[in-house]
């Protein structure tokens, strides 16, 4: 089988019992027996690793008996009646402070770019801290804090847009993001501009050239903020990682992996963008007890000699998945929005054809 350097070998991950290696002459029975292929299709209908990546995992209901139910009701009252208003207050306060500092700084310090940038960076970190406080976020950071150095990018696994906020409160990263509509888009185009952001549109992600060029330019700029990339390209439910896109790994820079793992006991932080808007997601977080997570800043990695960008991406994905204790699946996250490439089917068809033709030779 030809080695296609553009994608990892999926056959390494998927069960390859589709074609038995039978011995002996080819008979009618062998040709008619499509049971292995049917079995794979049936297996995919019953359960498949791709859909599992995007399943929300709400915490188990525990309020099912006479004693626990009133306790749960009390919990609801506390969460919605006390915690939620307090959090809204905190967040509002945070926004007031932020805007009253940010707007003057943005307009008045127009000439003093370096100072302006520094203050704006600190303010963005501040508002992110307010956001995190508004969900009672308990974040354990492990490992050395990222520093701004040229020729380095940060990559992390992606569960929700709050990943960005949680990381941003520690370090003002620049980020590459899907442009969103509504108030999120407004924030993206105004405030995030100041820390440096690169936009892309998933439907135009095929236009990798432009995005690639922008990434490269940013990484090479000496006083740009360190760039944070989520190579999965989509939100996954924090039990699995999908394949990393190679864009971040072919820039010729050091890649610093970051692993994020949320503790599901308190809340399921997965943002199922097909089910809820970001606003609903935030409200859900603000009416839960807490968002508890671990963030590990891992050892920077460089591309090994002879390694392709894809292999490098998979290696880093392995490091992040191992640290966060989550499983890897061989699927492209964008399959959420589009059909698999015909190449995947062709691999199977080629294997079948070759097996038949080969067995024809053995008389």
């Amino acid at each position: 089988m030809e080695l296609d350097l553009d994608r990892p070998n999926i056959e390494d991950y998927l069960p390859t019992d589709s074609i038995h290696e039978p011995l002996g002459k080819l008979r009618l029975r062998d040709l008619l027996d499509i049971s292995p292929t049917l079995r794979e299709a049936g297996g995919a209908i019953v359960d498949d690793s791709f859909t599992r990546c995007f399943k929300s995992n709400p915490p188990e209901p525990w309020n099912w008996n006479v004693y626990l139910f009133p306790l749960w009701c009390l919990g609801v009252v506390v969460r919605y009646g006390i915690l939620f208003p307090v959090r809204v207050l905190i967040l509002t306060l945070g926004w007031i402070i932020f805007l009253s500092c940010y707007i003057p700084v943005h307009w008045l310090l127009k000439g003093h770019d370096k100072l302006k940038k520094r203050i704006e960076r600190a303010l963005v970190e501040l508002i992110c801290s307010f956001f995190v406080a508004s969900w009672t976020g308990v974040v354990n950071y492990h490992g050395p804090r990222p520093c701004a150095r040229p020729k380095q990018v940060f990559v992390a696994n992606h569960t929700s847009m709050i990943d960005f906020i949680i990381l941003e409160q520690m370090t003002a990263f620049a980020v590459i993001m899907q442009k969103h509509p509504g108030w999120v888009g407004l924030i993206q185009s105004t405030i995030l501009e100041s820390v440096g952001c690169i936009w892309f549109n998933r439907s135009e992600a095929k236009d990798r050239e432009i995005v690639s060029r922008k990434l490269r330019e940013h990484v090479e700029g000496a006083d740009n903020n360190p760039l944070l990339i989520f190579p999965e390209g989509t939100c996954v439910n924090n039990n699995y990682t999908v394949m990393f896109k190679k864009g971040a790994f072919e820039l010729g820079s050091t890649v610093c992996p970051i692993a994020i793992k949320y503790n599901k006991i308190f809340v399921d932080a997965f943002w199922n963008s097909k089910k809820h808007s970001f606003t609903t997601h935030l409200l859900q977080l603000m009416t839960s007890w807490a968002v508890v997570c671990d963030v590990w800043y891992l050892e920077p990695q460089n591309m090994k000699p002879g390694e392709t960008p894809i292999e490098f991406a998979e290696r880093v994905r392995g490091i992040i998945s191992a640290r966060a204790g989550i499983k890897m699946v061989p699927w492209d996250g964008f399959l959420k929005y589009s059909r698999p490439s015909p190449k995947l089917k062709e691999v199977k068809q080629q294997a079948f054809a070759e097996s038949v033709l080969r067995r024809l030779e053995d008389k």
Binding site: L32, R39, A44
Partner: protein, 175 residues
């Protein structure tokens, strides 16, 4: 989607179980229902072709289009009946019947040379020419005592395919 088993009553489960000849346990039927609801995104009561194709592992299967014709629009009961052929306890004739139905795309009870060629085309894609497929098929059919003009019935399929090596088992994950 709340707890799936709350929308599926015990009566429903037993009804479905009866229709698939008790091949699936009640727990498996609940699991299958959760899966059905997961695939049926807007709770229409059936899974559309598009929703089946959103499972990449299914979409990349060479026989996906043929199977789609059989599963598109099925309600939950028929979905379970369809999947019962994949149950380890299913009988050999039941499994072979599913295979037969995949070949018999016009549902006339007969599988012709042309039908088999079409399935082989699906399986081999662009990697075997029509001529090659025809040659192979004629040869193995003649060796088995059939000619190019023969039509195979379900009984022929059972005769040809029934052997202990035929495994078509899918396990239903039960959490």
């Amino acid at each position: 989607m709340g707890s799936a088993s709350s929308t599926l009553t015990q009566y429903d489960i037993e009804d479905v179980q009866e229709h698939c000849n008790n091949l699936f346990s009640q727990q498996e039927i609940v699991s299958l229902y959760k899966r059905f609801c997961q695939l049926d995104r807007n709770a229409k009561g059936f899974i559309s072709a598009d929703e089946f194709l959103s499972v990449p592992e299914f979409a990349m299967n060479p026989l996906s289009q043929r199977l789609l014709k059989m599963v598109d629009g099925l309600n939950f009961k028929d979905f379970v009946i369809f999947l019962s052929a994949f149950n380890p306890k299913a009988s050999m004739p039941q499994k072979i019947e599913l295979i037969f139905k995949v070949y018999d795309s016009d549902y006339n009870g007969k599988v012709t040379f042309k039908d088999i060629m079409e399935v082989l085309r699906d399986l081999s894609g662009s990697f075997m020419s029509d001529k090659q497929i025809e040659e192979v098929l004629i040869r193995v059919m003649e060796e088995a005592g059939y000619s190019k003009d023969s039509s195979l019935l379900l009984d022929d399929f059972v005769k040809i395919l029934d052997h202990p090596g035929l495994k078509m088992e899918v396990e239903v994950p039960v959490d």
